[in-house]
């Protein structure tokens, strides 16, 4: 056990930080991560292209796919450094964290050659077509239909709560192809060109952020059979692998600590008594949550290294700390700044968005607890 960064990891972080500073759009904030404006999409693509060019986008990928077989620790360092400055990779973090790895593990050679180069060069945005109106936390209940028609699938259905859909060139789409099978069977993954006729993206209005969440409607969308990932009806096995990767190594703790630092600064500027006992205990507890999230994030990465194909329950443990951390940070900001926290554009105000969504996105908090109960505590199944 060695809890220091190695000299190589430290050097990697320093070089990455320099690259980020050179290429991030000035004034970038976490608000921009959702890429609400076309220029934000362009900024994300330019930033990721620069990272890719300098070897900082997918270093943890195998050499044959454009990486250099770096350890997942470098992947985590990338996340820490990008989250520190508001995640200027936008939605492309998904490409490198799990969409690319899913293509490497389950894709055909032709699919790998077609899709991976654009990811390694930061030229493409993907979205994940997972949740549906009647399949949220119970993802396997999805009903979007993909019916075989010769060498194509005809897709009809609706996805919801989708991030980045408005900016995506492709959708990693979960569909149902066997309507008689048990719900975890009969699922097939299709890689859908978002420019296909019949694909319609609608933004869902909300008081939090522009282009935060979307619906995607599929009406008789024709998807070539060559765009199927893995075998027909065997998609759930891929999904399980994806979800574990999706839950690992997103360094939200770094951003939350930065938000608290800024809130402390804002409070002092506004004349609040930052030495007051209640102020200090509220602030300190929020920082402690951040460090707890950091610690478990590291444990989840170590678990991924040690047991890449296992159930990896520490990924769920990590998520079950990170979600509440975002909420604790949010409420700490509200408490420390009072009414000033609601002024638009402040870090405290932005944290409302992150605090609200982190507990419900990418597998709700309760789903993570269910997985811990099942995979760690071995508690009896509820049904």
């Amino acid at each position: 056990m060695n809890l220091d960064w190695t000299p190589q990891e430290a050097a990697f972080r320093a070089a990455l930080r320099s690259c980020i500073q050179e290429n991030i759009r000035p004034g970038w904030t976490l608000d921009d991560r959702d890429m609400p404006e076309p220029e934000d999409v362009a900024a994300v693509n330019a930033f990721c292209a620069a990272l890719g060019e300098q070897g900082f986008l997918t270093p943890h990928w195998p050499v044959e796919f454009g990486g250099r077989d770096a350890s997942p620790w470098e992947q985590l360092i990338i996340s820490e450094e990008t989250w520190e400055v508001g995640e200027p990779r936008g939605g492309q973090y998904m490409n490198t964290n799990w969409i690319g790895p899913a293509l490497m593990a389950f894709g055909s050679k032709e699919q790998q050659e077609r899709f991976l180069p654009d990811i390694t060069t930061g030229q493409v945005n993907w979205c994940q077509g997972f949740s549906e109106p009647d399949a949220g936390s119970d993802l396997a209940s999805l009903r979007t239909r993909a019916e075989r028609d010769g060498e194509t699938y005809i897709v009809n259905g609706q996805k919801i709560w989708t991030s980045y859909a408005h900016a995506a060139e492709y959708c990693f789409l979960l569909t149902r192809t066997d309507f008689e099978a048990k719900k975890h069977e009969g699922i097939t993954i299709l890689l859908v060109d978002m420019k296909s006729p019949g694909v319609e993206v609608r933004e869902i209005a909300n008081p939090y952020a522009h282009h935060l969440i979307h619906e995607i409607h599929f009406t008789d969308v024709v998807v070539p059979i060559d765009n199927r990932l893995g075998d027909e009806n065997r998609g759930w096995e891929i999904v399980r692998s994806i979800l574990a990767n999706e839950r690992v190594g997103i360094a939200r703790h770094v951003h939350s600590e930065a938000v608290l630092d800024q809130t402390l600064s804002d409070a002092a500027r506004l004349g609040r008594d930052v030495d007051d006992a209640n102020f200090e205990s509220t602030l300190g507890m929020a920082y402690a949550w951040c460090e707890a999230a950091r610690a478990m994030n590291y444990v989840a990465v170590a678990e991924r290294i040690a047991d890449p194909l296992g159930l990896r329950p520490m990924a769920s443990v990590s998520r079950s700390i990170t979600g509440p951390m975002e909420r604790e940070t949010e409420w700490a900001c509200q408490s420390l700044l009072g009414d000033q926290a609601t002024e638009g554009g402040s870090e405290a105000d932005r944290q409302v968005v992150t605090g609200t969504t982190s507990m419900i996105a990418a597998g709700a908090y309760e789903v993570q607890l269910d997985l811990i109960a099942k995979n760690v505590l071995k508690l009896p199944r509820s049904r």
């Binding site: 056990m1 220091d4 200090e280 300190g284 949550w289 707890a292 079950s320 993570q368 811990i372 508690l379």
Partner: protein, 304 residues
């Protein structure tokens, strides 16, 4: 970064687990009524475990503290195995109590050979012959009392900060270990206990309570390990203690809630961990004091 045990660490951990399985545990704790387990202490001393930090580093000492907490070992190992070596003390007695202030309650008060006193920026060491002990009654399974020094040896400027950091990390390590055991204990109960024609552990409300406690206890464990490794960083040690205190409270509430009446009985045994969690939760000023230290350290850092 490498979070896996080395071969030596794994051997140490397995040896400790085996030793405590043989000589400690809830039954032994009940037999001793929480008082000092001299037999086990002698064994640990003779086999060099009390000096593990001198042989290796503070992290290995924390592993000892964690395993001892799991097995509810009746001995003040935190002071002797972790805090004293962090202060650079050698050739010290086998039992050292930790004193936060003249009014604070001290674990194993009256049963230790020496005491480390925290007084602002300075720590000091006093032998049992140079202290007055005022025992107090408590439902805690630790013998508690107030300890005041008539005479003590100052360990120098800055030693107080070192003592506080090691103590904070140790509290977190103990809470993490005890929390994980309490959750495991409660999980066994809800798996076997049938109500409404099904195991109560199959209800999501029950599962989620225990899963949340498990996550928080595991985070406390790793916070403690990071704090001990980076033992000069009070932001980490105070964060570890703050979070661990919250974890202790949640674990106490959740494990008792799901085990019901049987959970609060002596015979069943859950209280061996949870009552101790209450004591740890309030030690060294408790969660609020730890959290304030986190904020104070951060403010100082940002101002520098």
């Amino acid at each position: 970064m490498d979070l896996e045990f080395s071969d030596e660490q794994r051997l140490l951990d397995e040896t400790l687990a085996s030793l405590f399985a043989e000589l400690a545990g809830p039954s032994r704790s009940r037999e001793l009524a929480g008082h000092l387990d001299q037999t086990l202490l002698d064994r640990l001393d003779n086999e060099g475990f009390l000096d593990i930090a001198q042989e290796t580093n503070l992290l290995e000492a924390l592993f000892l503290v964690e395993r001892a907490a799991e097995a509810v070992v009746c001995a003040p190992l935190l002071g002797r195995a972790l805090v004293a070596p962090a202060l650079g003390l050698r050739d010290v007695p086998a039992t050292i109590g930790l004193v936060a202030s003249p009014t604070s309650l001290v674990r194993y008060a009256g049963e230790c050979d020496a005491y480390l006193f925290l007084d602002g920026d300075t720590a000091s060491l006093a032998s049992r012959d140079d202290v007055d002990v005022e025992p107090v009654t408590s439902r805690s399974f630790y013998p508690l009392g107030r300890v005041r020094a008539a005479r003590a040896q100052s360990l120098g400027e800055g030693s107080g900060a070192i003592m506080r950091r090691a103590w904070q990390a140790g509290i977190a390590g103990e809470i993490g270990a005890m929390g994980l055991m309490a959750v495991q204990f409660a999980a066994a109960h809800v798996t076997d206990r049938i109500q409404f024609d099904r195991p109560i552990g199959s209800f999501q409300a029950v599962q989620n309570r225990l899963a949340r406690s498990y996550s928080m206890a595991m985070a406390s464990r790793w916070l403690a390990r990071r704090a001990v490794w980076h033992h000069e960083d009070e932001f980490l040690s105070a964060s570890a203690a703050s979070f661990a205190c919250l974890s202790a409270r949640e674990t106490y509430d959740n494990t008792h809630q799901v085990t019901g009446g049987i959970g609060i009985t002596t015979e069943y045994g859950l209280v061996e961990w949870t009552i101790r969690l209450l004591t740890l939760h309030s030690e060294l000023g408790g969660g609020t004091a730890h959290a304030r230290r986190v904020a104070q350290v951060r403010k100082a850092h940002l101002a520098s």
